[in-house]
Every structure is written in C-alpha cells, then in structure tokens.
C-alpha cells in the first residue's frame, strides 16, 4: 500500500511539472541516445568487417614477410614467383595459391583518369578469394604466363573511367602502359571507409614488368581443410624461412584477423560509448539538482505526511522513485531516439549500425542506476526532514 502511494505520488509530481520533468530528462535522453547510437554503429561496423573478412573465402591463410604486430615497420618483400611455386608445392595444389604485388597508379581512358590500386595477381584469385565478375572474364593462366596486358576493373574504376560506355574491349593506360579491359568486378562496397571497388587486376607478370621488379608482396592460400590450417601455415613459413633465412614470415588465418579487428573495434566502441556516457552523468547531476528543488518545494507536504504517520523511509522511497522514474522514462525515450537514429543512419548513410539487445538492456539499467545514485541524496534529505520544521516551511 505504501509503495503504491509512493508510485502514485511520484507520477503525480512528474505530471504536475511536465516541462521541468522533460527538461530534466533531456540530459538522460541525450546521454542514452548517444550511447545506443554509438554502440550500434560500433557493432554494425564490426559485423560488416567480419562479413567482409569471411567473404574473402573460407580457410584463408595469408602469408606475408615480417611480423604481424602493431608497431612493426613494414618489410620489403624478398618473395618472388619462385617462392610462390615453392609454396604451391607445399600446399600441393597451385589452384589454391594466390599472390599480389600492388602499387598505386593512375589509370586513364581518353580524357578521364582515376588514381587507383593496381594489383598484379594470378588467375587463381577468384577461387582463393571469393570474387565474382559483373561482366567479361577474369585473367587466365595464359594471360599470366605471357604477361598479357589485360585488366579487370573494379566497379568504381569502371564507373569513373567509362561512365557512359561499356568498358569491355576498351583501352586503359596504367602508369603509361596500355592495357585492354577484359572484365569488370561485381561491386563489393565499402569497408571501414575504404572503397573496395577501387582497384584494377592485371597479370602479376605484367605488373612486375610495369614496375621493373621481381617482387611479390604477399601470398594467400586457401587451405584444403580447416583443422590443419595452422599446421599448413607453419609448414609454409618453414619453407620460406629456409629459402630466405634473413627474413621472418608470418602466416595468419581469417580467425586471427577477425580477432585483431574485433579487438580494435571493440575498444573503439567502448571509448566512444564512455564519452557518450559522460553526458549521461551530466544528466544525472541535473536530476539530482531538480530533485533537491522538488524536496524544497514540497517541504510542507513532507511535514504533513510525517505528521499523519509517514516514516522517514516512506518519504525517501517516494522521492527516490520520482528520481528513478525521471531517469528511466528519460532512458526509454533516449533508447527509442537512439534506435531510430541508428536505423536511419544504417539506411541512409554508408555507415552501418546494428542494434543489440544487450546494449538496450545496459542503457536501461544504467539510466535506472543513474536515478538511484543521483536521487538517493535528495531522497535521504527528504526522509530526514524534521516534521515541525517542515510544516513551518514557506
């Protein structure tokens, strides 16, 4: 009965001061909304990156020179196509091995130009990484063997260079050398703000000739089975170490890449959410403030209630409930706002956003906790008021 009265009185107090209550809630609303929104963007980005990494193809093993660690300087690759053959022998199937030698270059077609990434690759690339073409064909073994000057364009390169023409069969100039377009990739979209369709594939032999190098930057292997992927990596690294005793090599799996990316994105999301949480804290201080005003305003009511038998705790609960209602109503509104904004961002901008239930539960819990933490002092003050003094208050 007493608790029901506390509810009734708390709701009544909020209703009686609608504008003031809403303004007080605003701090909590903004805080919760931004936490929900930022967590949604963080989660969405993480999911997107995971999908893309998984979309590269399953059981992928990337072999690069140097250590894969934050802060280590990139190493100039000593790898050549001979090493690629050696790796193919370790794997036992050349169709499972892909390479890349990449460099930025200006692509021109007529008057149009586009600065893009030119990748020298083997014909195995679409098998190792799951990639599909929108038009034309991919490179063949013959193209590679004869260093034929043919190119497959990424979607955005094709759009930039040939906005109103079919690129197939057309000429493009890469770093001053003419290539013929034989295919266009299906679009991939963006990842962490990087346009994944901004690339041109040419035969690795042609690329090496273009840049006057024998170098291969990295090797990718599609492992035959998942269980022995780590063991295969070790064997490849051992073989490469034997061939290049001065250089260290690393083999990383998709899972490891996902783990590292996930950690980075998780920390980033956490930091952003914490910054947004500060506004929640400021909102809480506002609640505390307004509750003290509320206690002062209703001092005589408190005195009267005490006179007719309210215990200190009855009064305290009543004001604590008022504070918690303020922050939880604010929290729910903020959640709705945050979810709405996140859905809009996801739909209307390239930034992905995904709502997770735990973030909503957390937001609600935190806003209730803010109410308790910032309401307890005003509530205690109300509960301890001397009834005689309270009844005499103005």
């Amino acid at each position: 009965m007493r608790v029901a009265e506390a509810w009734r009185v708390a709701l009544d107090a909020l209703r009686a001061n609608r504008l003031r209550s809403s303004l007080t809630m605003l701090g909590v609303i903004i805080g919760v909304a931004s936490v929900v929104l930022l967590v949604a963007i963080g989660t969405g980005t993480k999911q997107q990156v995971e999908q893309q990494v998984e979309g590269l193809g399953s059981n992928l093993l990337l072999v690069v020179p140097g250590k894969i660690e934050v802060g280590t300087a990139p190493v100039v690759s000593p790898l050549t196509l001979k090493d690629v053959d050696a790796v193919s022998r370790v794997v036992g199937d050349p169709q499972r091995v892909a390479v890349t030698v990449a460099s930025g270059a200006t692509a021109r077609a007529g008057a149009r130009s586009d600065f893009t990434t030119v990748q020298g690759v083997l014909e195995t690339t679409p098998t190792v990484f799951t990639r599909s073409l929108a038009r034309g064909r991919y490179l063949t073994g013959t193209d590679v063997d004869t260093s034929r000057r043919v190119a497959v364009l990424g979607d955005s390169v094709a759009r930039t260079l040939f906005p109103d023409r079919d690129p197939l069969g057309q000429q493009v100039t890469l770093a001053g050398v003419r290539f013929r377009v034989i295919g266009v990739f299906a679009p991939l979209g963006q990842s962490l703000g990087v346009d994944r369709d901004d690339e041109v594939h040419v035969p690795v032999t042609a690329a090496q000739r273009l840049w006057g190098t024998q170098r291969v930057d990295g090797i990718a292997v599609k492992a035959p089975d998942r269980e022995r992927i780590d063991e295969l990596g070790e064997r490849i690294v051992a073989e490469l170490n034997r061939r290049h005793p001065d250089t260290e090599f690393s083999a990383v799996t998709q899972q490891q890449i996902l783990g590292v990316l996930g950690d980075i994105l998780g920390v980033l999301t956490g930091v952003l959410a914490a910054i947004a949480g500060i506004s929640l804290l400021v909102g809480g201080v506002g609640v505390s403030n307004i509750m003290l005003v509320s206690v002062r305003e209703r001092t005589r009511e408190i005195g009267l209630r005490k006179a007719v038998g309210a215990r200190p705790r009855d009064i305290g609960v009543q004001f604590l409930l008022e504070a918690v209602l303020l922050t939880t109503i604010g929290g729910l509104t903020g959640m709705a706002l945050g979810v709405g904004t996140a859905l809009l961002v996801d739909a209307l901008s390239p930034i992905p956003a995904a709502i997770t239930w735990w973030s909503l539960a957390l937001a609600f819990g935190v806003s209730a906790a803010v109410g308790i933490v910032f309401g307890v002092v005003p509530a205690q003050r109300a509960g301890r008021l001397d009834p005689v003094v309270a009844l005499r208050a103005e």
């Binding site: 009267l304 005490k306 006179a307 007719v308 038998g309 200190p312 009834p387």
Partner: protein
C-alpha cells in the same frame, strides 16, 4: 500494528504518576524543550507537567511565544523533549525510533493545523484517506472510511473536490476529518480557527466540540479566544514556557515563585493587567499580548490576544 493505542504496551504503566484509575492518553512530566539557534539556546518549554485524559476537552491559552505550539508538537510526537519524560499512548517517546514515532502519531494522534495543510491537486476524500495509506489500509477501505468521515463533518457532498475548490471552512473540516479518520485518542488543534472568519470559525469550533463529545476523542486546542477557552472543560495557561495554571489540577494560582518562572512573570500574573505582559515571552517577535489572566480563572473582557494578521471570532470580546 494498526490498532490504535494499545495502552499498556512495553510493560510501561501508562499514567502511573496520576492518581485516577483512568489510563492517561498523554502524560508529560517536567518536560522541557530548548532550541539551539545560531549557538544561542532558546528555552521554549521549561518544565511542563500535565496529563491529558481520554475524552478531555482542553483549551491551551497563553501569550504569543509562551510555548503553546512547542508543547503541542511534543504532545503529538512530532518533536522530542530535550528534558523530562513524555508518555504518549503508553509509550515513552524517549525510547522510540523515528519510524516508531511515525507509527505512534499515526495510531494515537490527530492534528489540525491553523494552515489546514491539505495536499494540493488531491481530492478531499484522498486527503482524508492519507493517514490510512501509512497504516496499510486497502484503497477501497480507505475511500470508504474517508467518505464516511467526510460525511460526519458535513462534507459528504464534497468528496472529489480539491482544496482550491473549497472554502477555508470546508478545507478545515476536511483537515478535521483527516485527523479523525484513524480514530485517534487525542486530537491536537493549534489555532484551528486562526485562518477563518468568525462565523466559519465558530462552526468549525462547534464541529470539534461535537466530535469530542460524540466520539470521546480528547481535544487539546490552542486558542487566543478567551470565550472559546471558557467553554472548554479544562483550561491550561502557559507563560514563558511553563504552565502557570491548569484548571484540572488547581483551583488556585500555581505558586509561580517555586516554579521556573522568571521574576518578571510574577508581576502581571494574578491581577491581570494584560497589556503589561506583552513581549514577556522569550524573544517572540510577534509580541502578542494578554492571556495572563487565565492564571486566576478570571477573564478580563479585552484579553483576547490577536496574533499578527489573523481574524478572531467577533464574539470574543
């Protein structure tokens, strides 16, 4: 827990000091109350002893600042004495925690204030039901009992009116209903007609007297109106924080010299020169006058002392 005033609780023999076989509703023995105000002690009560019996009708009179309200707060368990012993409904308030005091007020005391103190934006019936909330009575029973009580004070047709939709007299009657809905043993009214015009005030007074007679609730009422005081069965006169006369215990003057009265209180007391006592209360700013004559039981006509800016029933003079 919800029963009003089980008298002999805690093995405390209530009213043990009093002679009668009746159980005292409230017993104060040498009660004092000292306020600390910016490091200065204000002795509002300096050793008050009195007993309120069930069904009593007591008028508490005395000049402004003499400690009447302070005493009422103590008798109602709203405040604690700084010295002496105070037993309310058989319970020594010095042994009670704040929540126990709250329960004691809820069970044994009803308050009526000069300023009504109704909750705004709250209907009459809900205002009256408020004490029952803290007693744990169900909502339906609360409304039933509150409505019945409003009927008894003549407001059965005003159940859902809010305070700002009622006259002062009606508001005070709602407050009286609220005070009585818990069936307390004592009704404490501190200048209940102080904010009302004389006609309305007289009606409220009549209501209080009727309820006192009908239900047997003890009525202790502070009044500045000597005519009203004369109607009461018993009259207690205070000055400077002490009881200078109590018609229940003494037919004659209380021997002030042996009590705590300061020397100057001796001067005006018996022979009633009312105006001369004004300002004799310890530092009361309103400087109300009169009231001293109660000590002899005689009532000078012009003695009714007005508080600042408050209407008094015209019939008092």
């Amino acid at each position: 827990m919800t029963e009003p005033a089980a008298p002999a609780r805690d093995g405390e023999p209530p009213g043990a000091g009093s002679a009668g076989e009746r159980v005292a509703a409230i017993e104060a023995v040498d009660v004092s109350r000292t306020y600390q105000l910016d490091g200065v002690s204000v002795e509002a009560l300096r050793g008050v002893s009195l007993t309120v019996q069930p069904g009593d009708y007591v008028a508490l009179v005395g000049p402004s600042g003499s400690g009447k309200s302070t005493l009422m707060h103590l008798l109602g368990g709203l405040d604690r004495p700084t010295g002496g012993r105070l037993v309310i409904g058989g319970r020594d308030v010095n042994t009670l925690s704040p929540p126990e005091m709250a329960a004691l007020r809820n069970e044994t005391i009803g308050f009526v204030f000069q300023a009504f103190h109704l909750l705004p934006r709250t209907s009459a019936v809900e205002n009256v039901a408020l004490p029952l909330v803290y007693r744990g009575v169900s909502a339906r029973q609360r409304r039933e009992r509150a409505a019945a009580m409003l009927g008894r004070v003549g407001l059965g047709h005003r159940l859902d009116h809010r305070p700002n939709q009622m006259s002062g007299g009606e508001q005070q009657r709602v407050a009286i209903a609220r005070a009585l809905v818990t069936e307390p043993t004592v009704l404490l009214a501190d200048e209940p007609t102080g904010n009302l015009d004389s006609v309305t005030g007289a009606a409220v007074l009549e209501l209080l007297e009727r309820l006192n007679a009908e239900s047997g609730v003890a009525l202790v009422m502070v009044t500045h109106d000597q005519e009203v005081a004369a109607r009461a069965a018993r009259r207690i006169t205070m000055r400077d924080g002490v009881v200078v006369a109590d018609s229940a215990t003494d037919a004659h003057d209380r021997p002030l010299s042996v009590d705590h009265g300061r020397p100057e209180t001796l001067v005006p007391a018996p022979s009633a020169e009312p105006r001369s006592v004004s300002g004799s209360g310890p530092g009361h700013p309103s400087g109300g006058s009169g009231g001293a004559a109660g000590a002899t039981g005689r009532l000078p006509r012009e003695v009714d002392a007005d508080g600042p800016g408050v209407d008094r029933p015209a019939g008092a003079a």
